[in-house]
């Protein structure tokens, strides 16, 4: 494997973070925009550099996540172009850490990078809410590390430190240790992914200063990606505790919470946006809990849509209305097809579960549609934002309707087991 491609994706924002510290606004913001465009370019080269070594791994899931994080970074840099050097540096540091989490092949490095990304966003927030957020996510991250250490210990000193080797050795691992490792990793990954009831820290972190707060959905996406890697290990050991019910429960709880938030009187715009991301994450978690290639592909599509559309929802006007409509599973955008695929998988795999799933989906989606209608009344986005919003919406539309894109997601989903 050519080693430079993933390291370029990680190194560019890291170097940009260092350089931003010495720049003032708005120069720092423009420099960040340049760095994130270059990072996106490097990430686009990843599909031609598949492979793995001891530190990095470029497979289907890693490519999807790395591209998604790069796109989130680009949108965050666009929206936060007027910020000061330290705020921009924090966002670029979080971006580099997220790219490292997405591309890492070492369990320890994945944890360190995810923790660094969470802290880079969290330490920009202030007050009692930031404190409560920290006291939720820091213990969860501690439990995540303990779980990863147990999974690594189960495979022995060599194989246990790499995701690919651990997945290969999974059928021979001790089922009790794999089960305990999964149970301990679950709260940490659920908190980082923003799944209910551990998602409230994201609301406080969302008030963080600077563009770093716009990377919160990307943190959730990368955490769900890590959850998929852990799930693959647990599924390969038939005597271990099945991961499906726990993921389904987290997904349904998230859907219920999102529906309650959206139908509560006086829900503010940022709460509506947060609930939209919670809805998409909950659906993705439910899809991963159901299992099967179609459900996994639907879950990945929903994650991609949530990360791309969340910054649009903060833009206001028609951009907010269109983004929330897409996240409400309305046609013709990609989440519509993903929602249908998820329902099909539920009817096939767990018919009893289909009824509550449909009910919660309908409740949350109708609440989101109501928010979308309200979105029309918010101030329209600037002209420059309109062009970016149109581009993102076209991308989310294309992912849903272009057959080769759907096939690619199906291939990635096949590689998850």
């Amino acid at each position: 494997m050519s080693i430079w491609a993933p390291w370029l994706v990680i190194g560019l924002p890291l170097a940009g973070a260092g350089a931003s510290l010495f720049l003032r606004a708005p120069m720092a913001g423009w420099a960040a925009l340049g760095v994130t465009i270059a990072t996106m370019g490097a990430a686009l080269a990843l599909p031609w550099h598949s492979g793995a070594d001891a530190l990095v791994r470029v497979d289907g899931l890693a490519i999807v996540l790395a591209l998604l994080v790069a796109a989130a970074g680009l949108l965050a840099a666009w929206r936060g172009a007027a910020n000061s050097g330290p705020a921009v540096a924090r966002a670029l540091l979080a971006l580099a850490a997220l790219e490292l989490t997405a591309l890492s092949n070492a369990l320890a490095v994945s944890w360190v990078a995810l923790t660094a990304a969470v802290l880079a966003v969290l330490l920009g927030a202030r007050g009692a809410a930031a404190w409560r957020a920290a006291m939720t996510v820091l213990p969860a991250l501690g439990l995540l590390l303990f779980g990863l250490v147990l999974l690594g210990h189960a495979a022995g000193p060599g194989a246990g430190q790499r995701w690919d080797a651990l997945a290969g050795a999974a059928p021979r691992l001790d089922p009790a240790l794999v089960s305990l490792g999964f149970i301990l990793t679950l709260p940490g990954l659920a908190a980082c992914a923003g799944l209910a009831p551990l998602h409230l820290w994201q609301r406080a972190a969302g008030r963080s200063t600077g563009p770093a707060a716009l990377l919160l959905p990307a943190i959730g996406a990368v955490a769900l990606g890590m959850l998929l890697r852990v799930r693959a290990i647990v599924l390969a050991q038939p005597e271990a505790v099945p991961p499906g019910p726990a993921l389904l429960a987290l997904g349904l709880a998230s859907l219920a919470w999102a529906a309650l938030t959206l139908w509560r009187r006086g829900t503010r715009n940022e709460q509506g946006t947060g609930a939209a991301v919670l809805f998409a994450s909950g659906l993705a978690s439910a899809a991963f809990g159901l299992g099967g290639a179609a459900a996994d592909a639907a879950g990945l599509l929903l994650i991609v849509a949530a990360v791309l559309l969340a910054p649009l929802a903060t833009a206001g006007g028609w951009a907010r209305a269109a983004a929330l409509s897409a996240l409400a599973l309305l046609p013709p955008f990609a989440p519509f097809g993903a929602g249908l695929a998820l329902l099909g998988a539920a009817m096939e795999g767990a018919p009893l579960l289909a009824l509550p799933l449909v009910g919660l989906m309908a409740a949350a989606a109708s609440g989101l549609a109501r928010q979308a209608v309200d979105g029309w009344r918010t101030p329209a986005p600037r002209l420059a934002d309109c062009a970016v919003a149109a581009l993102v919406l076209a991308l989310v539309l294309a992912v849903g309707v272009v057959p080769s894109a759907a096939r690619w997601f199906a291939v990635v989903a096949e590689g998850l087991r």
Partner: protein, 215 residues
């Protein structure tokens, strides 16, 4: 003194230090005064350093020896000295809550952690119950630290109890890493895990630092 005698002494010291960590974790959870809580946390770190020293001898690992020295210097000595100027302000922020409820929750969590982790890890280590017991104790310390961090203070704002809970949790993680992970992985990770208590202490002390008042 022969190496065999030192081996036996190190094994005994390791078990004692890990057990003391569990007791001190409960004590930190129940402490009502900032001065006492900081002292208990320093003693907790001292016990971790002793456990790491014993493990360094038993595994012949220089990396673990360095980790033990770092733990002793940073957490058992420098941290309490660094916190001393803030103790008067922190004393008003110390955690509140029912001691009996906290104690029962801690004992239940510790029992559950040891009962689940010790046999699972011990079986894998070829019936080596010592490794299983140490992993169980480490998980119990982590669980109590997480409990201390998650319990809100008087006004749910920044308070010393949860911050020390994160410190205790991280000490448990370091013990688990030293016991379960290869030294080449454990040593750098120990430095990285310090991000967790460092972040908690930064958020706690930021409003008290000169020129950063209010939060």
């Amino acid at each position: 003194m022969s190496a065999a005698i030192i081996d036996v002494a190190a094994r005994g010291a390791l078990g004692l230090a890990a057990s003391a960590m569990l007791l001190l974790a409960v004590a930190v959870l129940l402490a009502r005064r900032a001065t006492m809580a900081v002292g208990l946390a320093a003693a907790h770190a001292g016990c971790l350093a002793a456990a790491l020293l014993a493990l360094a001898w038993l595994q012949g690992s220089v990396a673990l020896l360095a980790v033990a020295a770092f733990t002793l210097a940073a957490k058992a000595i420098a941290l309490p000295l660094g916190l001393r100027p803030f103790v008067p302000a922190l004393d008003q922020l110390a955690a509140t809550g029912r001691v009996a409820g906290r104690a029962m929750a801690a004992v239940a969590l510790a029992g559950l952690a040891v009962a689940v982790a010790a046999p699972a890890v011990g079986n894998l280590a070829g019936g080596n119950l010592a490794v299983g017991n140490l992993a169980g104790l480490a998980l119990a310390v982590v669980a109590i630290g997480a409990l201390a961090a998650a319990l809100p203070g008087g006004d749910s704002g920044p308070s010393l109890g949860p911050a020390l809970g994160v410190l205790v949790l991280e000490n448990g993680l370091v013990l688990a890493l030293a016991v379960l992970a290869p030294a080449s992985v454990a040593a750098p990770l120990v430095v990285a895990t310090a991000m967790l208590p460092a972040a908690a202490l930064w958020l706690l002390l930021r409003p008290l630092l000169p020129g950063r008042g209010g939060g």
